[in-house]
Amino acid sequence: MVRVDGTSGGESLVRIRGLDKTYRRGSEVIHVLQGLNLDVEKGEFVAFMGPSGSGKTTLLNLLGGLDTPSRGTISVAGDEITHMSAGKLTQWRARHVGFIFQMYNLLPVLTAFQNVELPLLLTKLSKAERKQHVDTALAIVGLEDRKDHYPRQLSGGQEQRVAVARAIVADPTFLLCDEPTGDLDRKSADEVLDLLTRLCREHGKTILMVSHDPLAADRAGAVLHLNKGALVEAQGAGGPA
C-alpha cells in the first residue's frame, strides 16, 4: 500500500524519506520538493499528478537516478541510491529502471527490434538470448510483426508501445513513466494505458507514472498529488493494485 507519511515500517520497494530538491535561479532559491516521504510496495501502480512546475518530473528523475536530491534519501529494493557515485548510479539504472517518456525517445536509426534490444547490450546475454528477450517484450506489447519497422514507419501509439517494450525488456525493478500518453490521441493513449495496467496486473510490474491526464491516473491503484513540494494522497483508486 502506498504511504506518503513516512511511517511505513514494512519493507517497501521504494522508500523516500525527507526528500528535498532545490534549484537556484540567480539569487533566488526554488524549493521544488520539501521533506517528501513515500513508500511504494512491489506491484503497485502509482500516478503522480499536479500542476506544471509542481515537481512531478523532478521526483521521477530523482527516483530514476537521473538527478540527485538536495537532501533526503531514496531507497529502491534495499539499495540507497542517493549516495551512489555517477558510475554506480548508471549501472543501477541499467539494472533496475525502465523509462517511458512522453516523446517515446526511440533512436530513429534503429528498428523497433534494435531499439528494444538497446538495454540488453549492457548485459552479458548472448545474441540468441537477446533475441529471445526482445521477441518476448515485443510480443507483450503486441508488436512482434513490426519489429523490423523504423520509428518513422510506426504510429505514435506503436512507437510508445515499442518504448514500453524497451523499458521492460531487461526486466527492471520498476517502470518510471513520464506523461506516457501526453503525446497520443485517446485511442492510442488507452492502448498504452491498457498495456501498463496489464504489465502491473499480469506481470507484477511496479509502475510510477507522472500524468496530467485524469483518465490515465484512473488506471493507477493510487493517485498522489504534488502540492507545495509534498505528496498528498488523492484517492484509493480502483485500479490494478
Binding site: 537521473l66 558510475g87 539494472r95 536509426v109 524497451r166
Partner: protein, 388 residues
Amino acid sequence: MKYLRLLLVNLFRKKIRTGLTIGSFAIAMLLFGLLVIVRFAFNQGVEVAGADRLIVMNRVTFIEFLPLSYMDRIASIPGIKGVTHATWFSGTYQDPKNFFPQFAIDPGTWHEVYPEYVVPDAEWKAFLDDQQSAIAGEVTAKRFGWKIGDRIPLEGTIFSGHWQFNLVGIYTGARPQDDTTQFWFHYDYLNETLKQKGARFGVNQAGWYVVKLENPDDAVTVVKKIDQTFANSSAETKTDTDLAFAASFAKQTGNIELIILVIGSIVFFTLLLVTGNTMAITVRERTAELAILKALGFSDRFILFFVLAESVLIALIGGTLGIGVAVVLAKLAMAYSNPLASVLPVLYFPADQVVVGIAAAVVVGGLAGLLPALAASQLKVVDALRRI
C-alpha cells in the same frame, strides 16, 4: 562487436554530411599521399642505397671523368669485394622530353655490385655476347613500348652522334622501390666508337666507380685508402658511401622535407577543424539520443568512446581511401606512364608510410572528436531531456 551496428547506423544516418567529411579526409590524405610519393621520389636514391657500396668520383666535380686505369688499382685495395664503373650518356630518345637515365657500364662487373637489379640469365648472356646491345628497366621499356629485339636509337648530347642499340633484355628490381628506369649499354661500345671517331673526350675514361665492400663496417677505412691512393694525381678522387652520395644528390633539389612538413601540417590542421566541426554538429543534433542512452544505463565512458569511435571511423575510412588512391595512382603511373618520369623516375608509396599515413589520420580523427566526445559524455541527462 555488438555496438558496431549502432556505430555504423549512426555514422551513415546523414549520408551526405558523412560522405563529405570522409571525402575531405580522403582528399587531404590523397594530398598527403602524393607528398609522400614525391618525397620518396626525391629520396629514392637514399632509400635504395646499398650500405656496402661506395661511389668514387672525380674530386673536382662528379661530371668530370676518372681514368679507366683506376679500376684495377681500386680493386687491389684490401676490403673491396668488387668494383664496376659507369658513365653518364645523356642521349635523347626521339624528343628531349623523353628523359631516362642511360649508363655505359662494364657488364663483366656490374651484376656483382648491383645484385638488386634482376635480369633473366638468357637475356644477360645475350647482353654479354653483343657489344651493341642494351638492357632497359621495365618502367622505361613500358613507357616507350619497347620489346626485346627492338632497335633503340639515341641522339648523343655529351657524346655526339647517332647511336643505335639492340635491346636484348629488360631488368626488374628485387624490391618495389628499386629504380627500373635505367638504360644500360656496353662501355666498350662507347669507348671503341669514340676511338674510331678519333675523339679525345671521354676515351678510356669512366664517369665514376662503384665499389662493393666485403664488410660495410670497413667503409671509413676503405674510403680513406681509395682517396689516399689517388691523392696528388691528375684526377684525385672523392669517395663517399652510396647513401651519402644519394643524400647529397637529393639535397640539390632543395629542402623537400621542410616543404612537405609545412604542407602536411596545414593539411592535418584543416582536417582537424573540418572533422571537429562535423562531430560537434553531430553531437549537438543527437543530444536527446545520447541522453536517452545514458538514461538507459550507458556510461559516460561508453558515450565518450562511442562519439570518438565515430570520428575515428570517419578518419579511418577517409584516410584509407585517400592513401589507397595515392598508392594506386603511383602504381598506375609506374605501370603505364609516369608523367614526372624526367624529374622523378620512381613513383612509389612505401608500405611503412601507408601505415604512418593511416595512423596519422586516425590520430587526427581522434583529436577532432575529443572535445565533442567529452561534451557528450558530460551531458546531464536531466538537462538534455528538458530540451526535448
